[in-house]
Symmetry: C3
Subunit: 340 residues, 3 copies
C-alpha cells in the first residue's frame, strides 16, 4: 500500500486541505502515527481529540467537515470512519494469505461434498459427506465441516473452527479461530438418579454477513433451529444456547451468554459479560450495559443496566443511593438516640 | 426415521388416544411441528402450553396423563420428556457420522498407544505414547490425546479436543469441540521481582457419563487430581481450576468458573456465569442462581443468589428494598425538614 | 524422579531435620501424601495447616523456619514454595513429550519460514510464509502460525493454538491449548442500515515470560499493537480486546474480559470474571476482586471490589448496610406509625 494523499482522497471521495503530494504507506491512531501514516478524527468537537490532532505526526488526517485548520494536511470527508475503514481494507488485503485458491493436498474431503469455484481450503481440514462449500469461501486451515453442513459464498473460516453436522452458514460471514457451531444444546432430564441426555437433533442457521469472535460457541437446537440473523456481530467467547434467535444486526460483546430459547431482537446491543436467562424476549433496539443480568421480557428500545437488569436510570439512582446508605444509617442512629 | 404413531407408542410404552395409523418422520416443538412430526407436552397443567397444544399441527403429541382430549392424536406416557428423548435418539442416530469404525490413515498414533475394539478415530488426530483408547470410543477428527492419557469405552470426542498428558476420561462421556482437559493449573509464586511457575504435575479424572460443553477448560491439579465426578454435565465455556472436585451428578451452566481447590457436592446446580472462589466447600444439592458469586462454604441444600451470594430469599428481599430506597431517602428528608 | 531426602535438601538448599535417608519419588499435599512423597508447608503459623502437618504421612515436609518439631522429617528452607516448585519441576520434566526435537513429517511449512535450532514441531501444524520459530521452541501438535508471525526461543505452544498473521510472541512463553492470538478486534461502524467492518490491521505483541491459559483470546489492534507485557500470566478463557496493554507482571484470573484500548498497569491482579470497560487506565499494583466491573481510570495501588467497582472497604460497608435494610425500613415504618 503506497499512494499519494491526493490518490487517497480520490479513493475515499474526500477533499484535500493542504499539500496532497505526500506519500501514505500505512494507517495509525493520531498519537502513534508517523509521517507516512494516515490517521483520522471521528468527532470534530471533542477537545481531547483536537489536542491529539494538533500534536500528531500523521502525514494526512481524515476529518469530518468543520475541523479547524492547524497547518496539518487534511482529507475532509462525510464519514471519516468509513473512509478510514476503506484505507484499512487496502492494508488488510496485503496481509492476507497469499496461497492460491484450491484445496491443500492434505485436506480430507468426502467424495459427496460439493466444493464451489475459487474456494481456498488450507491444510488439515476435514469436509464430511454431503457438505457444501460456497464459491470463493476460505477455510484457512484445520477446519472441521460436519456432514451436510453448508458454507455460503465468500465466507471466511479461520483455523480450528468446528461446524458440526447440518449447520448452515450464510454468505460473507467471518468465523474466527476456535469457533464451534452446532454443539449439542444443554438438555437433560432427571430420572433413575441421574441426568439423562435429551438428544439435540435441531440445527444452527447463521445468516449472511454475520461475524463470530474467537472461541465463541453456538449450540444446535433441540429440535428446530438456533438462528443468528443477518448482519449480527458476536465478539469473542460468546455462548449462545439451543433454540436462541439473535438479530438481525445485533451486537453482542465478549463473554456474553444467552440461555436457551431466548429471542434477542433487531439491532440489540449488549456490553461484555451480559447474561440473559432462558425463554426471554428482548425487543428490538434494546441496549444492555456490561455485566448486566436479564431475566424475562424486555420492551423494544429499553436501555438496561445492572444484575438484575433494570432501566439504567433506576439502577444508577439506586447505586447513588446505596453509596449514601452510611448517611441514612447515621441519621437513624441519631433519631434512635433521641428516642431513648 | 419413519414409523406409525402406533409403532412410536409401542417404542415408548405409551397408549394411543386417537388414530394411530398416521406416519411420523420427525420431531418438533408444538408451535413448529408439521403433520409428520411428533411433539410433546411436559406439564399437563400449564395454560400457555395447553393453548399451544390446541393449535399444534403435530401428527401426534406425547402427553402425560390428564391432558384433556382436544381431537388431536395423543400418545399418553408416564414421562413425556423421556419418551420424547427416546424419539430424538432415533433421529440423532441417523445424523451420526457414517464413517466405519477404524483409524483414519492420516492419524498419528504412537506405537505404544493401545487402541480398543470398534474404535473410530478420524483424520488428523494425534495419539501420544502409552495412551489408551477404550472400546467403541469415537474421536471424530483433529483430537489430541497426550501421553499416558486414557479414554473410556463408548466415550465421544468431537473435533479439536485436547487431552493433555496423564488425564483419565471415563466411559460414555461426551466432550464437545474445543474442550481442553489437563491444562496447567494457574499457580505461581512471586520472587525476584516476577511470578515464577509452580509446575503442575497432578492430573484430571473425568468419571463415567460426564458431558463437557464446547470450549470448556479443566485444569490439571498441582499435585493430586482435579475430579469431575460421574454423571456431571458442564455446559459451554466453563472453567474448572486445579484441584477442584465437582459432582457427582452436578449441573454447571455456561460460563461458570470454579477457582482452585474448591469442592462442589452431589447434585449441585449452577446457573450461567456463576463464580465460586477458591477453597470453598459447596454442599450437596445446593442451587445457585445465574451470575452469583460464592465465597466460602455453603451448607447442603442451600439455594443461593447474588454477588456476593446469599440465601435467595434474602437477596430478593434486599433487591426489593433497594428499589424502595428513594422512598426512604425522601422520608429522611421530610424528617430533616421538620427538624430544622 | 527418585532421590533421598538428603539429596532433595541439597537440591533446594535446605537443612534436614530428622532422618535424611528416606527415598522420595513424588510430591503431594499434606493430606494426600504417601511415605514416598515430599510435601510442603507455606505458613508456619496457620493452625489448620499445622494440624494437617501433624497428621501427614509424607516422607518429608519442606517447611519454613520456625515450624515446631513433631517427629516428622523436615527440610527447612527460606522459601518452601520455591523449594516445592523446584521439586515439581523435576517431576514435570519426566512427564514431557519424549519425542525428539525436529519437525514431524506431516507438518506443512512454507519454504520462506525460518525454523530455529532444537525446535520440536509435532504433527499437523501449519507454519505460513515468513513465519519465524525461535530456537528450542516447542509446538506440540495441530498449531497454526500465520504469515510473518514470530515465536521466541524456548516458547511452548500446546495443541490447537492459533497465531494469526504478524503476531510476535516472546521468549519462554507458554500458550495453552486452544489459545487464539491476533483475531480481529471487534470494530464496526453503522451505515446503510448495517454494521460495517473496520478492518483490523494492527498486531499483537506478547513479551517474554508470558503464560496464557487455555481458550483465551487476544485480539489484534485496529492499528498499532495489542501488548501483553513481560511476565504477565493470564488464566483460562480470558478475553483481551484490540489495542489493550496489560502488565508487566500482571495476573488476570479466569474469564476476565478487558475491553478495547484499556491499559492495565504493572503488577495488577484481577480475580476471576472481572470486566474492565474500554479506554480505562488501571494503575500499577491495582487489585480487583472477582466479578468486579471497572469503568474509567483507577489510581495506582487501589484495591477494588464490586460491580460497579469501588474501593473494597466502601463496597463491603455497603453490602453490610444493604443486609441491614430491613431494619431501616422497619424503623421508618415505626416512625410513620407514630406520625399518623
Amino acid at each position: 500500500m503506497k499512494m499519494t494523499i491526493d490518490q487517497l482522497a480520490a479513493l475515499v471521495n474526500g477533499r484535500v486541505i493542504g499539500n496532497g503530494s505526500g506519500v501514505i504507506e500505512g494507517a495509525a491512531g493520531l498519537a502513534e502515527a508517523k509521517g507516512s501514516d494516515a490517521s483520522f478524527v471521528r468527532d470534530a468537537k471533542n477537545a481531547a481529540v483536537l489536542k491529539e490532532l494538533a500534536a500528531t505526526a500523521a502525514g494526512a488526517v481524515i476529518v469530518p467537515e468543520g475541523v479547524p485548520a492547524n497547518g496539518k494536511t487534511y482529507i475532509e470527508v462525510k464519514s471519516p470512519v468509513a473512509a478510514f475503514a476503506a484505507l484499512l481494507k487496502l492494508i488488510a488485503v496485503e496481509k492476507e494469505i497469499r496461497r492460491p485458491a484450491g484445496v491443500h493436498a492434505s485436506t480430507v474431503i468426502a467424495p459427496s461434498a460439493k466444493i464451489g469455484k475459487g474456494v481456498l481450503i488450507g491444510p488439515f481440514c476435514v469436509i464430511e459427506e454431503d457438505a457444501v462449500i460456497g464459491d470463493n469461501a476460505k477455510l484457512i486451515a484445520q477446519v472441521y465441516v460436519g456432514p451436510r453442513s453448508k458454507i455460503g459464498p465468500e465466507t471466511l473460516l479461520y483455523p480450528q473452527v468446528t461446524l458440526r453436522e447440518d449447520v448452515n452458514i450464510g454468505a460473507r460471514c467471518v468465523l474466527h479461530a476456535g469457533v464451534v457451531i452446532g454443539g449439542d444444546g444443554y438438555g437433560f432430564y432427571f430420572a433413575d438418579g441421574r441426568h439423562n441426555k435429551i438428544p439435540q437433533v435441531g440445527t444452527v442457521v447463521v445468516e449472511d454477513d454475520v461475524e463470530i469472535g474467537a472461541g465463541s460457541a453456538i449450540d444446535r437446537a433441540t429440535t428446530g433451529r438456533t438462528v443468528i440473523k443477518k448482519g449480527t456481530k458476536l465478539d469473542n467467547l460468546v455462548h449462545i444456547a439451543h433454540n436462541v434467535e439473535v438479530g438481525p444486526h445485533a451486537l453482542l460483546a465478549a463473554q456474553v451468554g444467552i440461555a436457551g430459547s431466548t429471542k434477542i431482537g433487531k439491532g440489540v446491543a449488549m456490553g461484555g459479560q451480559v447474561g440473559v436467562a432462558d425463554h426471554a424476549n428482548v425487543g428490538d433496539g434494546v441496549q444492555i450495559g456490561a455485566q448486566s443480568g436479564v431475566k424475562g421480557d424486555v420492551e423494544a428500545g429499553a436501555v438496561l443496566f445492572g444484575s438484575p437488569a433494570q432501566p439504567i436510570q433506576e439502577t444508577l439512582r439506586q447505586i447513588f443511593l446505596i453509596r449514601r446508605l452510611p448517611e441514612l444509617f447515621k441519621f437513624m442512629k441519631s433519631l434512635q438516640g433521641k428516642k431513648e
